[in-house]
Amino acid sequence: MKLLTVIVLLPLAGFLLNGLLGRRLGRTFVSVVGCGLPLLAFVATVKAVTLLQATGPDAALLEVAYRWASFGDRSFDVAFYFDRLTAVMTLIITGVGSLIHVYSTGYMKDDPGYARYFAYLNLFLFFMLTLVLGRSLLVCFVGWEGVGLASYLLIGFWFEDPAKAAAGKKAFITNRVGDAGFLLGLFLLYWALGTVNMDEINAAFAAPVAPAVSASLVGVLLFIGATGKSAQIPLHVWLPDAMAGPTPVSALIHAATMVTAGVYLVARLHGIYEHAPEASQVVAVIGVLTAFFAATVALVQTDIKKVLAYSTVSQLGLMFLALGVGAYGVAVFHVYTHAFFKACLFLGAGSVIHALGGEQDIRKMGGLWRRIPLTFGTFAVATAAIAGIPPLAGFFSKDEILWFSLASEHGGSPILWVLGSAASLMTSFYMFRLLWLTFLTPSRMSHETEHHVHESPFSMTGVLIVLAVLSAIGGFFELPHFLEPLLPIPAVLESLERYEHTLVYVAVAVALLGFVAATVMYRGGLARGEALAARFPRLHRLLDGKYYVDELYETVLYRPLHWISDRVFLGLGDRLLIDGSLHGLAALTRRASGRLSRVETGQLQWYVAMAVIGVVGCLVWVWRHG
């Protein structure tokens, strides 16, 4: 039996069933199909993992599903490749994915687009599994574009609202920029190596004879693709806007799975980056800058989902920092822990929004812990996990990232460590700020909202509990060592080796410092925070305006493009040149035929005379030339 193909096709079946029949067969059918098939895919993945474990640490399952194209002696197969890295990603996608499907049955209960929602969600899973299971970059790219499509459809799920439809478009278009880089890298690899299978690409770069292509160039091009999908500077602008979609979508696509596709891509092609110190440096610098700047923006956001969105951007930056210093397994470790606690946070935020009837502004919340205790408890665990409080999951992965950013022989440096730690401090601060303002401070809700507050149904809280437990204990699984046969752990500078334990204490101290600072600032409500903002109005405006990146792009890119399109391409090219020449030809023909039609007088004698002239003319011509 083709197990891997089955894993990929199960969600596709869900998409087809729900998309074609869902509306007619009712909600129970949609829920069963929508949640059941991803769960089956999860079970199949577990089966595949046991098969893989039986074969050895660096073995892989390989399955050719379909011959896509063949020409000459070359061919492109739709082949699925399953090694430990794929196993981890697939377990996250199907596992967390299934949980979020279950949660959605509660969250989207009253939505008229219920069947459409589940169809899209299953479609997303299908493409995401194609992305991580595909053996060749080409299949991966199909998944890559497919998740972009699913993301677009789900961000703009409530497309009646033009702002939400625009957010979907923005995500799609921003991703196109990155995809150009991905494609160029893909072409370059195929041109140089004659293969797009990722295991063969890694092997080619590890071979003693270096391939005839610059690893750094390919690395940077593929990383441009990754910056688009994983929302890194300068293509991060779409992710905060993507929060326009339903909250479970933000949890699944824009926190746990899709945005980590870039991390997966770089980790999967680590063979290139190991031989490309320049590209690795670019990855590390972009990563740490994204982590730092996104964290500063998250400090002042007042929309609960926006805080989490910037937090996601920041955490993704940390993952790229790990990739840049060669700690590929550690990056995947953070993908794995982040999937749990960030999904838990987003779903918790969804539960809060659900309880408050759509309110997302944390300035109008507070005191919720007594009213929705389960949501509060799970949210608090996940907050502590992301802040890096031991022994929760986030502590382990983040600590290792920071350690390697300092000590890795593959480009570690104190600057990276300082910026990363600063981002980590801010993470702790803004997450506890969120926790205080949402749940713990005295209530600032309006009377009507307060009356409405209720705990979410079990389908939602149950999922929250599972995810909170996973965020608590997930870190004890030594993922980097599990992945070591595939993704080597970089050597550590000897001079720093003895500081490893000290740095663990520093990381814990940083996390606790963030917690204490947030407590001092926000225990009493908004007052102190607002006083601080009033003290530094310029800085606050800069952060609140997200460094005006959107405005910058609007001025530098959008306006000139719009001007050129409007004036040059539309005005000059389309209207003047194409329309002008065609209309001119038409007018010329009409005028000429107007003149000519006067010959038709209706006078028989005139016609006869013309005919005679013609015949005589013909005769003369024949006589002359005959």
Binding site: E600, T601, G602, Q603, L604, Q605, V608, A609, V612
Partner: protein, 100 residues
């Protein structure tokens, strides 16, 4: 030889008369008669050449032309009748609106 030239000359004169008649006269009936004249000139020429070359193909063509001429008249006469019934005039200049 002289006969042949005479006959061809006659044929040419008849054709020219017919052509001038079609071009100059305004009466539809007269124009039809002039067209018949041209057809007959052609027939005369064909027969002449047929005699000259001692082949039959020219003579055969004559029958073809008879058929065409008969068909033409069968259509043309009703048209002329209709015209005269419409306006009791056969002056073709008055019918220039038929150009469509």
């Amino acid at each position: 030889m002289a006969d042949t030239q005479l006959l061809l000359g006659l044929s040419f004169v008849l054709f020219a008369l017919g052509l001038v008649g079609v071009m100059v006269r305004r009466n539809a009936l007269v124009m039809l008669m002039c067209m018949e004249l041209m057809l007959n000139a052609v027939i005369l020429a064909l027969v002449t050449f047929s005699l000259e070359t001692a082949t039959l193909s020219g003579a055969v063509l004559v029958f073809l032309i008879f058929v065409v001429a008969a068909a033409e008249i069968a259509i043309a006469i009703p048209i002329v009748l209709q015209l005269s019934r419409q306006r009791s005039s056969l002056d073709v200049e008055g019918y220039d609106r038929l150009k469509g």
